[in-house]
């Protein structure tokens, strides 16, 4: 009964979404306020029914209802309750349900928190969100219904959740990632609305920015969690593989990063308008492309759940419609939303333009590398298939990010409209000297050697950090006290600086861990040991142990530091009962300056195991940096100017926007 209720709720949500995508739009063109104002209750309705449907699927999982095909494929009676719950989004159908629930949540949130928005704008935005819900609900109901039943041959036992997914990482990684992916649909809906109305002013940018920042922050965390999960759960100590799955999440992130910067220019200066719209369209289209590539199994990847041409075709259709319609609309309407403020070559506008170009070019490079195997196969057939490896992506991506870091330092210190070169010199010469000197000195003092990549990365990180410090000192100098000066700086300013600091932290983390990690694969019999720097790892052997739904070989690795007892690591090799699949559970001692990593490989006779031991300095900084970036993005939203209920009229009257308002309409 309950699964049918869930299915029914889905159908109801679909019907309401259909109404949401049609009625408010009709209202807009007939100037019918009643129809327009229907959009709010419709959003609430869709959200409630999606939540109900999700709850029904969760119920089916928790009650081991294996007559539901999806449950029987992704659960098992022995599965711990928490993983039964997270199993809801452990496969294709359920994760799609989560996807649509997120669309509904964002839509509902927009309808709740956009009281300041004129009704006709809100109606359009929500209608576009409604259309997105309709497409994905149809896709789910027609090709991948999570409530499909196995009534005649109900299995007595489910075939279990993939062991890789029985982990804390799965509890949090997909929801965050999806919140980010789907969140860009809000920016997209706002962009389409701007094209429809031809009105793209400072007020529009101000409405769009918080949503975009929030989606971007979610995506940042989602990607960071995915990388963290790969690091400890895939078992082999890597944190980024340039796997197609990672790339398709990373591309919307890069474009989203360009978008939040471009939105800043659009809000403050009224330029880059059509570019901003294009980025918003691109960010969401790339999110959809990601969903399509992963779900169609088109590219060999960790996440290719189901290879089903029919599903792929439907997704491709949705993707093409979204891209085609938006670009068509863009071609028709973009000239209308042109901005005409002027700026000079050393203004912040230009530096942000450079930021955008670099980010978009790196996205294009990654896109090419990700799709290249497909292009190659389309041209050359199945013979001699190719794969594009990390060297390609590193060669493209790292130099561009290096250039980006240089401009980041200049750009965030420069001023709108025009910055005098002498001001930039005064602010940055010392910063540049200090960062170059420290770039040489720090590696030299710590490791007694220095090479080019390390020098570049450390200098660039210091360049960003000192630039931030210099700017904060400069901006807080004219107040009664330093503290008062700092307090007077806006939250969005602090948000920006924290996010940039996060970027510097990531640069350091990536570069230092890549260069100074020691990775050893050794065959160790019980009692044998291996030394890495001042640590000694002693393998004490592995013994069988029982878990709730698996049997494991539990290894013990005693670690000595400088010859003294330090800690013990417990890497495991698990064999899950239901599927017989084997899963490596690495054990990691996480530290601020270094991680110690141990994983069991395979048994090589006589109690000896191949053991993988890593000493990874600064790897923690990669995730720390990502969280700082996300924190900065969220902090910027809390700025009080977003809380003020500004409507288009007031915004046009405010001094910042007066010079734009005339040029827009």
């Amino acid at each position: 009964m309950i699964p049918e209720l869930g299915n029914f709720a889905l159908v109801l949500a679909l019907s309401l979404s259909l109404l949401l995508s049609v009625l408010p739009m009709v209202g807009v063109y007939r100037r019918n306020e009643l129809l327009m104002s229907l959009s709010r209750p419709l959003c609430a309705g869709i959200w409630v029914f999606m939540l109900l449907s999700f709850a029904c699927l969760a119920w089916a999982f928790l009650h081991d209802d294996f007559s539901v095909a999806y449950v029987s494929r992704n659960s098992n009676t022995l599965l711990p309750a928490i993983y039964k719950f997270t199993g809801v989004w452990g496969g294709h159908e359920g994760s799609l349900l989560l996807w649509v629930l997120m669309v509904a949540s964002w839509t509902y949130a927009v309808s709740l928190f956009s009281r300041g928005l004129p009704l006709d704008i809100l109606a359009r935005v929500l209608a576009v969100m409604g259309i997105i819900s309709v497409s994905f609900l149809l896709f789910m109901l027609l090709t991948s219904n999570p409530f499909d039943r196995l009534l005649l041959n109900t299995p007595a036992e489910g075939s279990d959740l993939n062991p890789l997914l029985q982990d804390f990482g799965l509890i949090v990684h997909p929801p965050f990632l999806y919140m980010g992916y789907v969140g860009f649909s809000v920016a997209y809906a706002f962009a389409i609305t701007a094209l429809l109305t031809g009105k793209l002013d400072a007020a529009w940018a101000r409405w769009t920015r918080p949503w975009t920042n929030l989606a971007w922050a979610f995506l940042t965390i989602g990607i960071a969690l995915g990388s963290w999960w790969a690091y400890y759960e895939l078992g082999w100590g890597g944190w980024w593989f340039w796997d197609p799955t990672e790339n398709v999440a990373f591309m919307p992130w890069l474009v989203g990063t360009a978008l939040i910067h471009s939105l800043a220019v659009t809000e403050k200066r009224g330029v880059f308008k059509s570019w901003t719209v294009l980025l918003a369209i691109a960010a969401f289209s790339l999110s959809l492309l990601g969903t399509f590539i992963i779900r169609s199994g088109l590219i060999t990847s960790v996440h290719a759940f189901a290879v089903d041409p029919e599903r792929g075709l439907v997704l491709l259709t949705i993707l093409l419609i979204v891209i085609g319609v938006s670009l068509f609309l863009y071609a028709l309407r973009a000239p209308v939303v042109k901005g005409t403020s002027s700026y000079t070559a050393t203004s912040r506008e230009v530096f942000l333009l450079i930021n955008n170009i670099l980010l978009v070019v790196s996205t294009a490079g990654i896109l090419l590398g990700t799709l290249y195997p497909l292009l190659h196969e389309a041209i050359n057939g199945e013979a001699n298939m190719v794969s594009v490896g990390p060297p390609y992506f590193n060669t493209i991506f790292l130099p561009l990010m290096g250039i980006l870091s240089v401009f980041l330092g200049v750009g965030s210190i420069s001023r709108w409209k025009r910055t005098s070169v002498s001001y930039l010199k005064e602010m940055l010469v010392n910063v540049a000297i200090a960062s170059v000197v420290l770039g040489v000195m720090v590696p030299l003092v710590v490791t007694r050697e220095v090479n080019l990549p390390i020098f570049l990365a450390v200098s660039l990180a210091f360049w960003i950090v000192f630039g931030i410090v210099r700017d904060v000192l400069d901006k807080s100098a004219n107040k009664a006290s330093r503290l008062a000066g700092m307090k007077s700086l806006s939250l969005s300013y602090w948000g920006m600086q924290v996010a940039h600091l996060g970027f510097a932290v990531i640069i350091l983390g990536i570069c230092l861990t890549s260069h100074y990690s020691v990775e050893r694969d050794v065959r160790l019999a019980p009692g044998e040991s291996i030394s890495i720097r001042n640590y000694e790892f002693i393998f004490e052997g592995a013994t069988p142990q029982n878990g709730p739904n698996y049997q494991s070989q539990a290894g013990v690795v005693t670690v000595l530091k400088n010859g003294r007892d330090y800690l013990t690591l417990h890497p495991e090799k698990r064999t899950y009962y239901a599927t017989g699949s084997v899963q490596t559970e690495a054990d990691i001692d996480v530290g601020f300056f270094r991680d110690l990593f141990a994983a069991l490989g395979d048994e090589r006779g006589g109690g000896a195991w191949v053991v993988r031991i890593h000493l990874k300095p600064f790897v923690f900084w990669i995730w720390l940096g990502a969280f700082l970036m996300a924190g900065g993005g969220v902090g910027a939203i809390l700025d009080k100017r977003y809380r003020a209920r500004v409507n288009a009229h007031q915004a046009a009257a405010s001094p910042a926007a007066t010079n734009l308002a005339g040029q827009v309409s």
Binding site: S342, L368, M385, V386, S387, V388, Y392, T395, D521, R523
Partner: protein, 151 residues
Amino acid sequence: MLAHRKQKLAIVMFIIFGTAVAVGLVLVALEEGINVFYTPTEVSAGDVPAGQNFRVGGMVKTGSLKTEGLDGAEVNFITTDFCNDVVVSYSGPLPDLFREGQGVVADGFIDEAGIFRANQILAKHDENYMSAEVKASLDAAEGQDAEVCRQ
């Protein structure tokens, strides 16, 4: 007006310059980043240029996995498309989904002794899932004189 044009020109030049740099990077990067996939039959036929990094894949031949008598973490196995075999040597822990009789893709190069030295062993993360490369490899072998191969 003139200044405005000049500025536009500068921006356009910058974009062209940026695109040129990017295209250059892409070409260099593609050169070194691409791994071509070869089937065991192609490898045996000597189709692979010497010293080149490439991928080979097929089924792990049952009973071919060997660890004894080798140094440290080294391991040997044979990958086959049921027509020809390639001996793969690898040092390190094998992936969890590595099994005899299942698909595998190895990334590496052929050394002087004619043995394939793998830097990386890939076994896919879903048990029911066969990578496109392995499938193509087996299909290709099938397309050849399957009678000869499978006797």
